[in-house]
């Protein structure tokens, strides 16, 4: 048995502490709007009264009062007193409450000003209560005062609450110490409120106005546009449209507690492409603003009971701090049952994932992250390609005037008959190979392909399959997504193109060159040229080395190509973190 020892609370210091937990002005106002939303308000009005009305909205430290008026259920005297308590109960609201700690009204209000006034009626007449932080601090006791409704407050009731019910919250004695300008607060609120209450504004008929300006709902994922444009193909997307990366999926966070969340992910546009595609119009700025594309806005938007609780969270590093993810927009929809998996702070501005939630969401989003990054890079590549020639095109261009040596010193020029025979054999092999190349291309594009190989293909399909893309500038060296048996490269020959090489750009070694060393254009050009020489030498042997049978040469050279491809893959695997560009002189000094 233990004795109960009273540890008294200094209410003044406690309230002061609560007022300094780091609300921004917009976050504080949104927390108060939460109360209006859960009180079933249809109309919520925010009025910002300036200290000096003659000063412009651009002036900092010029706010006198924030007034939030809603026509919701309202409160009688008892309910107002309950709402003003620290840790007020939420019993009289439904299960979909936005409340979590019962501290929002007080902590949000006192974060901005020293006095909080609540005027409310549930239809039985308006009552007014005031809490003053300086008075509470002086008395070291938490209390409210019931006061008379003033004339200007009666005018507000007349104007906005004609039905005789609703609530007015007034935050006054604003702390004018580095307080944002009216213009900045309104600008920020338009975006924040539009996103935070997206579902209430778009689905529940709630109207929120700031002054006389109605706030529009903003879907940070722009899914209506994604629905029109379809799924993201990261290898083809040019950055001009919103696309789906992951349509809504239900994910189980805890099987025993049956905690499910819904996740959806879209890819927003790549603004620089607008600068290039519309030279002189400079629409990239407009696109950035419209889609909110900037450093603080990419990541996951977490909505709890349809109210945003986390803005562009990187979910503890699941989405890395990296500009390549600027277009990544994810949304997680949770209800209050998932609170233990998304530990939310008092300000409702950040959350900490439980280990299980982290792991599941991290695993689930790997592919989406990779797609988003690859798409962003691809759009960047497209935009660079428009301005500059890509390394692959430069390598091809370099070969315009290049003539391969016809016969090496010491090799005998084959008889005409044998040469023609060999050429016919090579052509036949390549012709029969084309249908397989087309099949592989279709599979890589996600198309359903029968096991039977179809001889019926168009010239466009053939060009795209052989080269990896339709591009007249590619004449000899082609970067493709599939090569037979997943080798690093294979030779290709036809009478129009001559000797060519198809490089498997997804082979680990090719990815080391093309992706890990993407910034090194010279390396890429040289690698492309080297691959062509390898393929060319193989075709040279088929045509000119008459002392060995063609079929034997094919087997041996192909095996050699296979072994080189495998050795290179193995080297990349074993030396993964040490190869350029990660190589460091210091480590091997």
């Amino acid at each position: 048995m233990s004795d109960k020892i009273d540890l008294s609370i200094d209410a003044g210091r406690l309230l002061f502490g609560l007022s300094r937990i780091g609300y921004t002005t917009s976050a504080a106002i949104c927390d108060i709007i939460d109360n209006s939303v859960r009180a079933n308000a249809n109309n919520i009005n925010l009025l910002i009264k300036k200290e000096r009305e003659d000063f412009s909205d651009y002036k900092r430290n010029n706010v006198k009062e924030y007034i939030i008026i809603d026509d919701g259920d309202g409160m009688d005297e008892g309910a107002i007193e309950e709402a003003l308590k620290l840790g007020s109960t939420d019993d009289h609201y439904d299960d979909k409450s936005l409340s979590k700690f019962g501290l929002g009204l007080k902590s949000a209000s006192f974060s901005q000003g020293d006095v909080l006034k609540v005027i409310s009626s549930n239809g039985t007449g308006f009552n007014k209560y005031e809490v003053s932080l300086p008075k509470v601090m002086e008395a070291k006791e938490y209390f409210a005062e019931k006061t008379e409704i003033e004339e200007n407050e009666s005018e507000l009731i007349e104007t906005y609450l004609k039905e005789g019910k609703g609530t007015i919250i007034i935050i006054s004695e604003i702390r004018l110490n580095n307080h944002p300008s009216v213009r900045n607060t309104i600008k920020e609120l338009k975006t924040k409120v539009g996103v935070i209450y997206f579902y209430f504004l778009s689905e529940s008929g709630v109207n929120i106005t700031i002054g006389d300006k109605k706030i529009d709902a903003i879907d940070p994922l722009f899914i209506s546009e994604a629905n029109e444009n379809g799924n993201l193909n990261e290898n083809e997307w040019d950055g001009t449209e919103v696309r789906w990366i992951e349509k809504p999926k239900e994910l189980t966070l805890d099987d025993e507690l049956e905690i499910n969340v819904t996740i959806e992910i879209t890819q927003l546009p790549y603004p620089p492409i607008y600068r290039i595609k519309n030279i002189g119009e400079s629409r990239d700025k407009e696109v950035r603003e419209r889609y909110l594309i900037e450093a603080g806005n990419y990541g996951f938007y977490v909505y709890r009971n349809k109210r945003l609780i986390s803005w562009a969270s990187n979910l503890q590093g699941i989405i890395p701090y990296d500009q390549d993810f600027y277009a990544f927009r994810g949304r997680i929809l949770i209800n209050d049952e998932a609170d233990d998996f998304f530990n939310i702070d008092v300000k409702k501005s950040s959350l900490t994932l439980s280990e299980e939630a982290y792991r599941n969401i991290s695993d689930f989003t790997k592919e989406a992250k990779s797609k988003s990054k690859a798409a962003w890079k691809n759009a960047g590549k497209i935009s660079r390609d428009i301005i500059n020639k890509a390394p692959n095109e430069i390598a091809n261009k370099l070969l315009d005037e290049f003539e391969q040596i016809e016969i090496l010193p010491g090799d005998d020029l084959p008889d005409e008959e044998i040469a023609l025979e060999r050429l016919k054999a090579i052509t036949n092999d390549m012709t029969s190979k084309i249908k397989w190349i087309i099949k592989m291309m279709k599979e890589d594009k996600g198309e359903e392909v029968d096991d039977t190989v179809d001889d019926d293909y168009t010239e466009d399909e053939k060009e795209e399959a052989i080269k990896g893309e339709k591009n007249a500038n590619l004449t000899k060296i082609f970067r493709v997504s599939s090569v037979e048996d997943n080798l690093l490269w294979e030779p290709y020959y036809d009478t129009d193109l001559g000797n060519c090489v198809r490089i498997n750009k997804i082979h680990r070694f090719a990815r080391l060159i093309y992706e890990d060393n993407a910034e090194n254009r010279d390396l890429q050009i040289l690698f492309d040229l080297m691959m062509l020489q390898f393929a060319d030498s193989e075709l040279y042997a088929y045509k000119n080395i008459g002392k060995y049978e063609y079929d034997d040469l094919k087997v041996v050279l192909r095996e050699s190509r296979r072994i080189v491809s495998e050795f290179l893959a193995n080297m990349c695997r074993k030396l993964e973190n040490d190869l350029p560009p990660n190589y460091s002189d210091e480590k091997y000094a």
């Binding site: 994910l251 792991r359 592919e367 594009k445 048996d485 997943n486 997804i506």
Partner: protein
């Protein structure tokens, strides 16, 4: 006596596999892939040795040693016998492995008993390939269909 039927799971000479370690009692699933010459049985050694990944992940997920588990089951799914799947270059195998893991994460809430997927898999750029998607779907379907009798 412990009697273990390993069928052909030791043969990796020209055969790669996707495999799933499953413990229904302890509610864990571990997905992997291998082109090991000794098949999934051979690969198992590395998972269960002192620094093995399965041992480590199990401990991290459950807080106790995998040695305490007495119902662990190895399910081996042979991949097509072609070079793309058996080669050292592993983008095809990794793509199937990734899609299987992803689908199991989505599926786990629907199965009884449910489970945690404790493996970590690497993403492959080939996950959009229709043939690979079909392979992964057939593995997951087979897992789901037979789950009640495991």
């Amino acid at each position: 006596m412990l009697e273990t039927s390993i069928l052909g799971a030791f043969n990796g000479a020209d055969q790669a596999y996707i495999y799933i370690w499953l413990s229904k009692k302890h509610k864990i699933v571990y997905v992997g892939m291998t082109n090991s010459y000794t098949g999934t049985i051979g690969r198992a050694g590395a998972h269960f040795n002192r620094t093995g990944t399965l041992r480590k992940r199990f401990n991290e997920a459950k807080g106790y040693e995998v040695n305490d588990v007495d119902d662990i089951l190895l399910l081996s799914f042979p991949l097509p016998k072609s070079r793309e799947f058996t080669s050292v270059e592993k983008s095809y195998r990794e793509a199937v492995e990734y899609l299987v893991q992803k689908e199991l994460i989505l599926l786990r809430g629907k199965l009884n008993p449910t489970f945690d997927v404790i493996s970590w898999v690497r993403l492959s750029p080939r996950t959009g390939n229709s043939r690979i998607k079909k392979l992964a779907a057939s593995i997951v379907e087979s897992f789901e269909t037979n789950y009640s009798r495991f």
